[in-house]
């Protein structure tokens, strides 16, 4: 794409992609949103479609069985999915921006050939960095890996792992030598069937309830040497750099969510009458909608620009943090105002904005809290 074209102007391929994802959302996702939220479970039919359409390997190159599109296309898909269900969106987001991305970037040719075709077509991946005692301070993680003959033995617990219930492949971060601090952190590819590995408790959450968040237990899981992703002791780099890209994805998820809230609010404002007129005729409602739109547009531009910088091979740490920060701000506000525009109806589960309001909160927590994004931005400013 011409690097100087307007950010919101889509190529023909992107337009076709967005149209089709939107049709998928309307026909397949939308009718299932409420039940999935209530049960706290992803409908397997949705996962099947995600694979069939190629949405689980969007920017995995053709030669590795992927869809052969780019990062911006992944971002557009994450945004569209979130418009209808932010839970489905994050399933796709973690697969594309974290798992596939890390394997492509840091994997050996053999690892890519082994894992990417499976990830693009049939297996779900998860990214396991956080633990009960290490969140923002991720590198203080306690999971340990000890060298064995021809491999590694991993012991520890991971918490809050998205996609954990459905996943077959887990990127596990563990320290091989705590005396070296973060320079001991190493990334391992662990399979669900590896002996000693098990999935623990599933969290009962406020929002994005259809996306599973689980604890992982690694009780002396032994993996061969070819399951180390990247270099031994360089796992911190894998973690940081993948999360930078991941943040653009979360920004996209939040922009999509906000857009969904705005669209629901507009439809309601035109339909709902009070004092003998549609509430959309009141200027207070109009300015609320306009403000949502203006905020969403600015967040969308931040997200798309960060994606474009990444694709252009330029530095984008600041822009990714900004994209996630502003996306989360805007989503929370848009969803909240949408609830108010719906009035009492908005406060019930019979209307979609109540769920979006709950879903929005996660944008300020995962892949680095809201404060952590600001600290990342500030670090650059003061360097």
């Amino acid at each position: 794409m011409d690097q100087r074209a307007p950010l919101t102007l889509l190529t023909d391929d992107q337009e076709m992609l967005v149209t089709e994802v939107r049709r998928f959302c309307d026909e397949v996702v939308s009718p299932r949103v409420r039940e999935m939220d209530e049960k706290g479970q992803l409908d397997p039919a949705i996962l099947e479609h995600l694979f069939e359409m190629g949405l689980m390997g969007i920017d995995v190159p053709d030669e590795y069985g992927g869809s052969g599109m780019g990062f911006t296309e992944a971002i557009l898909v994450i945004m569209e999915l979130a418009r209808v269900d932010p839970s489905v969106s994050v399933v796709c987001d973690v697969q594309n921006t974290l798992v596939n991305n890390a394997i492509r970037r840091w994997g050996t040719e053999e690892q890519r050939r082994t894992w990417l075709p499976q990830l693009a077509s049939k297996i779900v991946g998860a990214y396991a960095l956080s633990e009960a005692s290490s969140g923002s301070d991720a590198f203080s993680l306690k999971a340990r890996a000890e060298k064995t003959d021809g491999g590694w033995k991993i012991t520890g617990n991971k918490l809050w792992i998205t996609n954990g219930k459905e996943a077959s492949l887990f990127l596990i971060f563990a320290n091989v030598d705590p005396s070296k601090g973060y320079k001991g952190i190493t990334c391992f590819l662990v399979h669900r069937d590896d002996a000693g590995f098990s999935v623990g408790k599933k969290e009962d959450k406020l929002g994005i309830r259809a996306s599973s968040t689980v604890e992982l237990v690694l009780d002396g899981v032994v993996v061969p040497d070819d399951r180390v992703l990247g270099e031994v002791g360089k796992g911190y780099k894998v973690a940081i750099e993948t999360l930078n890209e991941g943040r653009i994805g979360i920004g996209a998820q939040m922009v999509g969510l906000a857009q969904g809230a705005l669209e629901h609010a507009i439809a309601w404002a035109k339909e709902r009458e009070q004092f003998g007129k549609p509430i959309a005729s009141f200027q207070a409602i109009q300015t609320a909608l306009a403000r949502m739109d203006a905020e969403i547009e600015s967040a969308r531009l931040a997200v798309l620009n960060a994606a474009r910088l990444k694709e252009a091979g330029r530095p984008f740490v600041r822009e990714a943090a900004i994209a996630k920060w502003i996306g989360a701000e805007v989503a929370e506000r848009a969803a909240s105002i949408a609830v108010e525009i719906f009035g009492g109806y908005g406060f019930t589960k019979d209307y979609p904005v109540e769920k979006l309001f709950r879903d929005a909160k996660i944008g300020k927590i995962y892949e680095g809290t809201h404060t952590m994004q600001l600290l990342t931005i500030a670090k650059g400013l003061l360097a």
């Binding site: 149209t19 190629g54 949405l55 599109m69």
Partner: protein, 264 residues
């Protein structure tokens, strides 16, 4: 077997249409476009036939300006093999008979035993093109088709939807023309690989001369049907809300249907 699918690009179903100053056409600037709905089902039917037989070629043809190229790309992304775009200015602006003549010429040039069309276009709604096409080609035709199955010896088993929840099953020999009804099954979701593959598929742009057509047979020059005016329907009728407990509402409604509407 080669299957030719005639598709039309129409304004997006949700688009807000405006009528231009001439009062005979809709304003096209800033509209978004899509493949006509029943034409999408025709493409899906063709792909399923090809898959069921394990061989064949699905060729999509569209008559329309430059923008209609996107409709071809969408069909190619769904899985069609090749596209034909009748984009030459001489093709544009005709009535259904002009379009049917152009499609008949393409069918002959392609020597396609089976032509699938959607039942009717969502924009101008003529629903004539496939019928005229079958006539020009002197082929048997089945419309309102909701199911097609290939049989041995170049015959097809075709199911038609009739009124009052009845279905008619018939058998027709090829060559033939079928008009496909929308809503008959799920149209596949286009995969991302499909979108990428579409870019490499050939799309030809034959001229009228290459198809053996003269200017008077097609497009504006061949048009005999003239649109005089286009306008939104006048809003008549009114809506009344009946309030109260369900039993009261029901009683009032029955009363009104009997006294005012006189339908009971």
């Amino acid at each position: 077997m080669k299957i030719l699918v005639a598709i039309k690009q129409v304004p997006d179903k949700n688009a807000r249409l405006q009528i231009d100053e001439s009062g005979t056409r809709i304003v096209e600037t800033d509209l978004s476009w899509e493949i006509n709905e029943s034409d999408r089902y025709a493409v899906e039917t063709a792909l399923r036939l090809k898959e069921a037989r394990g061989d064949g070629e699905v060729v999509v043809v569209t008559l329309g300006p430059e923008r209609a190229r996107k409709a071809i790309s969408s069909a190619l992304a769904m899985g069609a093999d090749r596209g034909i775009h009748l984009v030459d200015p001489d093709f544009q602006g005709g009535d259904p008979l002009c379009v049917a003549r152009a499609l008949a010429a393409v069918t002959r040039a392609e020597d396609a035993p089976l032509v699938l069309c959607g039942t009717r276009a969502d924009d101008d709604g003529y629903g004539e093109t496939p019928i005229l096409l079958a006539g020009l080609l002197d082929r048997p035709a089945v419309f309102l088709t909701i199911g097609v199955e290939p049989l041995d010896g170049d015959r097809l088993r075709v199911v038609r939807e009739l009124e009052a929840a009845r279905q008619e099953v018939s058998e027709i020999p090829l060559p033939a023309v079928l008009g496909i009804q929308s809503g008959i099954f799920d149209v596949r979701f286009t995969s991302l690989k499909g979108i990428m593959a579409a870019k490499k598929k050939p799309v030809s742009q034959p001229t009228p001369t290459e198809l053996g057509l003269s200017a008077e047979q097609i497009g504006k020059a061949g048009r005999r049907l003239e649109v005089l005016s286009l306008a939104p329907p006048e809003k008549k009728g009114q809506c009344e809300f009946i309030e109260g407990k369900p039993e009261e509402v029901a009683a009032t409604l029955v009363e009104k249907l009997r006294r005012e509407a006189k339908v009971l």
